[in-house]
Structures are given as C-alpha cells and as structure tokens.
Symmetry: C2
Subunit: 343 residues, 2 copies
Amino acid sequence: MKATLIYGAGDIRVEDVPDPKLQNASDAIVRITHSCICGSDLWPYKSREQTEQGDRIGHEFIGVVEETGSDVGRVQKGDLVVAPFFYADGTCEYCRAGLTSACPNGNAWGADTDGGQGEAARVPFADNSLMKLDVPHDSELMPSLLTLSDVFGTGHHAAVSAQVGPGKDVVVVGDGAVGLLGVLAAKRLGAERIVLMGHHKDRTDLGREFGATDVVAERGEEGEQNVRDLLGTDGAHSTIEAVGYDQSLSTALNVTKPGGHVGIVGVPQSGTIPNAARKFMANITVAGGIAPTQANMHELLPDVLDGTVEPGKVFNRTIPLDETPEGYRAMNDREALKVLVRP
Amino acid sequence: MKATLIYGAGDIRVEDVPDPKLQNASDAIVRITHSCICGSDLWPYKSREQTEQGDRIGHEFIGVVEETGSDVGRVQKGDLVVAPFFYADGTCEYCRAGLTSACPNGNAWGADTDGGQGEAARVPFADNSLMKLDVPHDSELMPSLLTLSDVFGTGHHAAVSAQVGPGKDVVVVGDGAVGLLGVLAAKRLGAERIVLMGHHKDRTDLGREFGATDVVAERGEEGEQNVRDLLGTDGAHSTIEAVGYDQSLSTALNVTKPGGHVGIVGVPQSGTIPNAARKFMANITVAGGIAPTQANMHELLPDVLDGTVEPGKVFNRTIPLDETPEGYRAMNDREALKVLVRP
C-alpha cells in the first residue's frame, strides 16, 4: 500500500510500504478513506533532522474495517469508523477515568503502528479505539466526523480544561484549526463572550461563524490590553491556549483573571510554561494537555451527526494521497487552514 | 516604635520608626504581640541588593487593637486579633469569591503599610482584615493561631489547589514550615497516604507527627522513583509544591499521576514552570499561588481553637524583637525551622 513518510524538515514522501497485517487478537485492519494533515504534523515538518529512513506520519483518519482479530466483536468488517489520534486499551485506570491519552498501552499513530496518512492501518484495541459511524460512506458529514479524531476533540478538551461553561467569558489564543474549534467547543458549552486572538482574517471570520463574539488581531501587550478592554474586566474566566509558543502561553496567562483557568492544548515548544509570576500571583490554574479524543468523541458525536456543530468547516482543501507533500507545503505556508487527504 | 528593616542580603536591622497613625476611616492600629519570620522573608535575605534606605519586612502577626477608625465596628479596642499576610477589602469580586489575595485594594504588609516584624502596625480594612481571637492573651494556642496569618493557610491552600481529599494519595515536596503544614492540611482534608519529600530528619519527624505516612529523603530522579515505588502507582493524585525551585517543581510533576493536580505555593524562582512536557503529556493540572489566608482562616480557626490541629509546632525558637537579625541568620542556616518574634 501507499503511505506518507517524513524524512526531514520539508521532506515528505508518499511511498510503497508493506500492507498492514493483524498482529494481535484485538487488532483490526482499516482501509482509510479520509485522512488529514494536523498543525502538529508541521512541527517535524519545520524542524525534523534529516534521516535516511523515513517515519510514518499522520494521526487522524476515517475508514472501513477490512479485517478483524479474533477478539474483536463490537466493530465488524464493512463498518465505517473514525479513529482517535491516540488509541487506547479502554480498560486501564486512565481509560476508565476518561483520560484515554494517558493509557500506558496506547500510543499515537505512526510510532508502533501505521501512520494515519496512508491507504490502510492496523488498529490496536479495535473495539475500544474505533468509533462506529452510522452514516452513508459518502455522507457530507465526513469532514466534520474526521475532526473527532483530533482537532474538535482537542478544542473541546481545551475548553473543558479551561472550565468553560454557561455565562463565562472565554479567550481563545490562536486561530489555527484547534483554536477555531476551541471557539466552537466554547460556544457549544455555553460561553457568553468568546474573544478570539488571531490575525488571519479568513480564519478569524470562520471563528466568528463558530461563535467568536470578538476578534483581537494585535499580539503581545497591545493585544492583551485590547482583550481586557473588550471584556471590561481583569481578563477572562477561561482561556484556551492553542499555539504552544512562549509568547502565546504568556498572553494566555495575562488575559485570564485571577482565579481563572487556562486550558493548554498547544504543545509548549520551549519545554517550560513562562510567565509563572502571573500564574502564581493571580492563582491561575493551568490545565490541559494531550487530548483524550477516544473518550470525548462519545460526547461530541451526536452534535456532529445532527448538524448542531459543523467542525468540518476547518477543511479548506482536499487532495489525493499522492499530493500529501504539497498539502504540507500549503499548510505550512498558511495557504490552507487544514488539508483533507483522500487516499 | 521599633520595627525590623532589611537593607540588603544578610542585612537586617531593628530601628526606631514613626509610630503608625490612622490614615483611613477603615484603619485600625494594632499593637503587635506575636510575629514571626517566614521562609519567603529569606528570599530577599539571600539576594536583596544593598540600598541606603531599608524596607520594612515581616507579614505575619497577632496583636491587640489599640485604636480604630470611624468606620471600624466589628473589631474594637482591646480585641486580640490575627492578621493575614495579605490584607484585603473584603468587598471586591475576588474577596467575595474567597480569593482575597487577588484583592486590587489589598497588599502584603510592608509595601504601603508597616511590616509585621515590629511593635505596631496600621491595618487597612480592619473589619475585614483582622480575625478576632476569643482566647486569653497568654493562651498556649498563640503559636498555632499565628500560623493562620500565612503558613498554615498557605499549606491549606496548596492542599485545596492540589484537590486533596478523602482517600487520595498525596506527595508534599519540601520540608520547610509550609511543606510540613501542607502535610497537616492534607491529613486534615482526609488524605490516605501522604509522602513527604525532605531530607532534614528533625523536620520530616515533625512531618510524620503531622500525618506523613512516608518520608523520601532522596532528591531528583532517585527520589521520584522512590515515591512511585512507595505508592505502587504512576504517582500521586495530588502534589503540594512548597519550595519554588525548578528542581522541586519538576519533581512535583514527575511524582503526580496522569490527570492529577499539583498545588504550588512556593514562588517559582526561575519565573517559569519547568517540565512542561510532563505536564502536557500527563494532563497534570498546575494550580495554586499566593494563598488567600484572609479567607481560609475562617475554615481553619475552629480546628486550631479546639486543638484538632497544632500547626504552631513549626515554631522551634522564640526571640525578642531586638534579636530579629539573629533569627534570620538561624532560619537561613537551617538552625531554626521557624522563628517566633515577641515584640
């Protein structure tokens, strides 16, 4: 089969790789029909050291079950399914607590398994890792359903971690796909005021469509002051940080009021959380992290199926698998917000 | 009157200063009977740049109300009172929410007011800032009551921020007075297992008396592994960080299990929170900060009065005001755990 590999910064290739085979009784083989490129795929795309052997990449997909191991019963051959970006066993302490992204037997795609940007994948713990989708295989909902793999579930996790709820003032730092779906998640959870910090007009326009009541394009101190002026307070109750750079993390703390909550879902790139003085003096809680989308898709799926939310609007380009390298370039150059890949 | 001033690192002096006077209708003048030296006073003691003019210092005290402004009614002349280290107006949004340490009209002692290590102090918002103590002025409870100013209330805030509760496994990083009172607070809140990380035997012995079930003396990776081995898990549900150095903050994250909570009450000395990768990948929530002891002394006072807890055991030296410089030296050299000052 064909799959996408990364060999180094800017070096994405689609190559022939061995077909996946069942290895464990709980495995399934899924023929991938929809995949996509994630903002987090751009980190290695920007910085990965060149190697002779490439690594499989991609971690979001929908597909059709092709084969199942002897222990698999809940999903069956022919089922349309969506996979979370981090598969999990469904039985450990963390899975039972809804924190599937901490499952010691789980992992992200591409590490011990196939990547998501390919024609097929072996799926461990298939009964738990795969969510069956009772829609036609050509449903118009497919882009929105695909966001349950990662970006919508991650935006939701950020909002929950930031304690978003009815009547709350929310700030979202970052207008990438996760930030925009953080806006949608906050709106869905009842936030009253949602200020989106971002400076790409096409993206912030989509943010307004998703529920942002205000947009602040300025960054740094000026942007922070503008947010506080808009809210007429010391900051938001709840802030979603969907970038991961020191500047955006620092801003997230500066636009949150004392006693407020920041939910971070952008991987902190410096390895530290800056602006600890603000965090400390204002008793701001910093929650969040790698999202348990295997768990939270159960909550989000019904609203996607009935059209209450349309997170799939973040996709603004669709390409065949062969063009994945061009998809990376387009996302990295900010020509595309999020690229859907059809193997 | 006499008061303590700091002129630079290692340079503490007791000098004559102007007597405090009422400035606002909500002020009271308190004649201080019990004060003390805080671990946080040692930060400037270690590092403050030398200046010609000294700054008033000390922020924990008990005393007797000597004079009150025209708006003061709840406390009266002759009342024995304890003051929180951060006074607050009692009426703002944050005070009403119990986060008195975020009161925009409040402050710590010594900034706009007298310091706590002196013979008297002007107390703003006296009706809210002062807690009346219905005990004899020579009560044996005085050391324990004095800890409501800061250290016990701070340990309690750390425990609450770390979501300590019945049946929880708790780790406390740091065996200073705040760490030890974090142990006591965790015990009081129903923690099942309390592992104290500290390597001063006299202090960890007091920690055991306060409720620590285990002590780990090793630091760094070895100490972290020992904690996990003791608990037989990936770490604690709740960790109290009562130091503030990068190493101890990093350890706090490494001994907390995925989905757990760290309550920080040691001021992060590097200005950042390290080990963000662990925080992110394990979805550990980092809460806490400057403690609202004006608010939480209402919860803690009854248990101090009836002897359920004896936080005053952290004091192991008592000195007159004139010997304050020697008290700083003794605490800084770890000869004394916490020094009580009797003006």
